[in-house]
């Protein structure tokens, strides 16, 4: 059992000048054999290892991470947690994931700073208005909240939104509010899972890149190659966001994925200004304000496949122009940092979670907006790996759908263009 975190433990260790806390997770020796290898210590890899141990008693697990724990997209995303998707197949999965996030602080005894602040979609074209009305009906069926706001209500809720008036090129027509939406602290999510995995006997190995997948003579997966040596396991899970095809191609296995660079930037901290997540799918920008006061701003991805990790000047200018069209006062804000992250996307923009044609080799990929999907994605993948059967929430997202042309067309990011 890990040490419990509580006010009492805080006081006790405080009296010892905080020198007596046990580390939240250890760095054990790398063994040459495990029951399951998970490649990638991002959100999906960690959540999968957590649920394998917790729900299925599989604890002889190694999570192999190229860099450091939680240093991938889990640290690079804009932490929007929501379930306002489009399809009957998608919405129940995201509703589950939002609920698991809400319970996470208690479940993992780690403060994830969950802040359920709602998200408002600002609508500026009639096509988008129709799309959102359609979503509203489907979300009603599956228990995700979505309500229409008038322009007056929107401007009352978000006083900083002064653009998009009747004279604008794209006047604001209305808005929809998704009250389930939340943000939380991404590092806490990674650390909380790592601590729980460690407590149940799983091992996390940082600085351990997988360079090659190994296939046995019988065609099954056999293990992986790393600079620290060969590690074997009868089951291997690929959870490497954006780098999936680079790994599967080491076995000549093709997957229908393209890798993209999605970017974001933050402003200097300012006083509390916006208390909801604002998404403007027609303008092509979304933003929220952190507890420190910075505005976190995101736009569309780079055009075309991309392994950059910074924002392209053209994407940056376009996103800023979109933001200023609705929030003209923000032109006085200073911007502090920008970054990007590698994601992969399937042709229908829905995730892929399945056992591949190499028996024992599993992938979880195509997580275009996959931060919100971490808890439910881990739950469903652990179920598949442990039982050999897809979890009902993930069944529509198998690889089979591409052979049967049974696409699950979704939209990509919150900016959804």
């Amino acid at each position: 059992m890990p040490q419990r975190y509580s006010l009492v433990s805080l006081l006790r260790h405080g009296l010892n000048r905080h020198t007596t806390w046990a580390p939240a997770w250890r760095s054990p020796q790398l063994k040459d054999r495990y029951d399951v290898i998970v490649i990638g210590a991002g959100g999906h890899g960690l959540a999968t290892a957590y649920y394998l141990a917790k729900e299925h008693g599989v604890t002889n697990i190694a999570v192999l991470e190229r860099g450091w724990l939680g240093g991938g997209n889990i640290a690079r995303n804009t932490i929007t947690i929501r379930s306002n998707y489009m399809r009957d197949a998608s919405i129940p999965f995201y509703v589950k994931s939002v609920a698991l996030y809400e319970a996470m602080t208690r479940e993992l005894d780690f403060n994830t700073m969950h802040s359920k602040r709602g998200m408002i979609d600002v609508i500026q074209t009639w096509g988008m208005m129709r799309d959102r009305r359609r979503r509203q009906h489907i979300m009603d069926i599956h228990g995700a909240t979505y309500e229409q706001l008038s322009v007056a209500e929107l401007r009352h809720r978000v006083p900083a939104l002064t653009g998009g008036g009747p004279e604008a090129r794209l006047p604001v027509l209305g808005a929809f509010v998704h009250t389930d939406a939340a943000v939380n602290r991404h590092d806490a999510v990674a650390w909380a899972y790592a601590r729980a995995i460690d407590a149940m006997g799983g091992a996390i190995h940082q600085q351990t890149p997988v360079t090659q997948l190994l296939r046995g003579r019988d065609g099954r997966i056999e293990g992986v190659e790393t600079p620290r040596g060969t590690v074997r396991a009868p089951k291997v899970v690929i959870a490497v966001s954006g780098h999936t095809t680079s790994l599967t191609e080491t076995l000549g296995l093709k997957l229908p994925l393209r890798s993209m660079n999605l970017t974001a930037f933050v402003s200097e901290p300012v006083r509390p200004l916006i208390d909801v997540i604002i998404n403007c799918p027609d303008a092509g920008v979304y933003l929220s304000q952190t507890d420190k006061g910075e505005l976190v701003i995101g736009g569309p991805p780079d055009p075309g496949q991309s392994y950059r990790r910074d924002i392209k000047q053209g994407v940056f200018e376009e996103t800023v122009a979109s933001m200023l069209s609705l929030f003209p006062a923000f032109k006085r804000l200073k911007l502090l940092r920008q970054w990007g992250g590698h994601l992969d996307i399937a042709p229908d923009a829905s995730p892929i979670q399945d056992e591949t044609e190499v028996p024992g080799l599993f992938v979880t990929a195509g997580w275009w907006g996959g931060y919100k999907a971490i808890p439910a994605g881990g739950l469903t993948l652990a179920h598949l790996v442990a039982t050999g059967r897809p979890h009902p929430l993930m069944e529509p997202f198998s690889l089979r759908r591409f052979r049967h042309l049974d696409y699950q067309m979704e939209t990509g990011t919150t900016t959804a263009r």
């Binding site: 095809t245 680079s246 093709k254 229908p256 994925l257 393209r258 890798s259 780079d302 055009p303 075309g304 496949q305 991309s306 392994y307 950059r308 392209k312 000047q313 053209g314 992969d344 399937a346 042709p347 591409f402 052979r403 042309l405």
Partner: protein, 85 residues
């Protein structure tokens, strides 16, 4: 920002162009292919860490379509992999 050379207008800023996706082989006749080949054509594109061939449309210029090779790591426009033999 890319500086894309249009065959008619010369080197022009990326902001004048619209991205048109990676180059795919020509559409096969599904009646003459097996299911695996057909669905592969429908769903797969090359996803290299390195040069990729793609189409761009000079929409805010002369309107022509062109193809370039672009390195997905740096976004530098590069020669076709077999250029110069």
């Amino acid at each position: 920002m890319l500086l894309i050379t249009c065959p008619f207008c010369g080197p022009r800023n990326e902001s004048e162009f619209v991205y048109g996706g990676p180059v795919k082989p020509p559409r096969p006749d599904p009646a003459t292919r097996d299911d695996a080949e057909w669905t592969e054509w429908l769903t797969h594109v090359p996803n290299p860490v390195g040069p990729v061939e793609e189409q761009w449309w000079h929409a805010r210029g002369c309107g022509t379509w062109l193809t370039i090779w672009r390195d997905t790591r740096s976004h530098d426009i590069v020669g076709a992999p077999h250029d110069g033999g």
